[in-house]
């Protein structure tokens, strides 16, 4: 059975469903990091799910600002890598602070990957 890919119909790929899969590039990176680590066997999806539920629960018991799903996802990812002693959070804090302090135009570390800079309002 060979059905052709429906490009324009209602069941078209998610990018054409009137809604982006990821609103910002970093959301895709955060999603993919969890997927890659789970596939690599560092943790199971069920273990990640437990951290995600906890991160969502923390926000819901004390809502601050607008609910942003991938912020909770990133928090879950940080908490699981910390628990497994893969990366210590102060290390993330430190490097993130260094990245945040970069002058505009100096943040294309990965060349064409283009993640991070735009959300921080850097102009060209």
């Amino acid at each position: 059975m060979a059905l052709t890919l429906d490009i324009d119909g209602p069941a078209a790929p998610p990018r054409l469903n009137g809604e982006l899969v990821f609103d910002e590039p970093w959301e895709g990176r955060s999603f993919a990091m969890a997927a890659a680590l789970a596939e690599g066997g560092l943790f199971t999806w069920d273990e990640f799910r437990d951290h995600l539920i906890a991160a969502i629960g923390r926000w819901e018991s004390n809502p601050m600002g607008q609910y942003r799903y991938y912020e909770r996802w990133q928090e879950a990812l940080e908490s699981i890598v910390e628990e497994l002693e893969i990366v210590a959070l102060p290390e993330v804090d430190e490097l993130a602070a260094a990245y945040a302090a970069r002058p505009p135009g100096h943040d294309h570390r990965h060349g064409d990957h283009h993640h991070g800079p735009d959300e921080r309002g850097h102009s060209h």
């Binding site: 059975m1 059905l3 052709t4 890919l5 429906d6 119909g9 209602p10 069941a11 078209a12 790929p13 998610p14 990018r15 469903n17 899969v21 990821f22 590039p25 970093w26 895709g28 990176r29 955060s30 999603f31 993919a32 990091m33 997927a35 890659a36 680590l37 789970a38 690599g40 560092l42 799910r49 995600l52 969502i56 629960g57 609910y67 942003r68 799903y69 990133q74 990812l77 940080e78 890598v81 893969i86 990366v87 959070l89 102060p90 290390e91 993330v92 804090d93 430190e94 490097l95 993130a96 602070a97 990245y99 945040a100 570390r109 990965h110 990957h113 993640h115 991070g116 959300e119 921080r120």
Partner: protein
Amino acid sequence: MADPTNTKDRLAPAVRAEALESLLAERGLIKSEVLDGFINRFVNDVGPMNGAKAVAKAWTDSDYREHLLADGTGAIKELGFAGPQGEHIVVVENSDDVHNVVVCTLCSCYPWPVLGLPPEWYKDPAYRSRMVREPRTLLSEMGLDLDDSVDVRVWDSSAENRYLVLPQRPDGTDDLSEEELAALVTRDAMVGVAKVSAG
């Protein structure tokens, strides 16, 4: 920057994700190209069109329909759709008397191989709590008015089960091919917040 806890709260998640990616890459645990591959796969290749094909096949092939209802994961794998979050797919069938709708009250469990990643509203706290508390009202707000005689069943996804709704085939579609039928099936219908219309 003196108080790291405070800094953590204020720094944009974008820059935290970037930092974490660098640290994981340094340890040889992830590769940038692998992440690109995952993103590309979920943005371009895995999405509701997969579930739509399973639904259209179930509408046109009663053996497949039975297989899909008895063993969602197996029947879906038969079409070539597998992967993370697709291990325990349970298919629930709508009828004139029963309308099924899916939610994940605790987080965002969703059958990725057949629907892709969930839309924003599915992950929203309001949807997650209200679909359990007042499904008819919420469905109505989302544009689906159900007759009082219809039994509404709300399925809470979990690590054990990921639900997919098999919607009712719309009237007036007897002449359509499986491929044409698949084009009518929407993501929302397979979550249960809409019906399939003949177009």
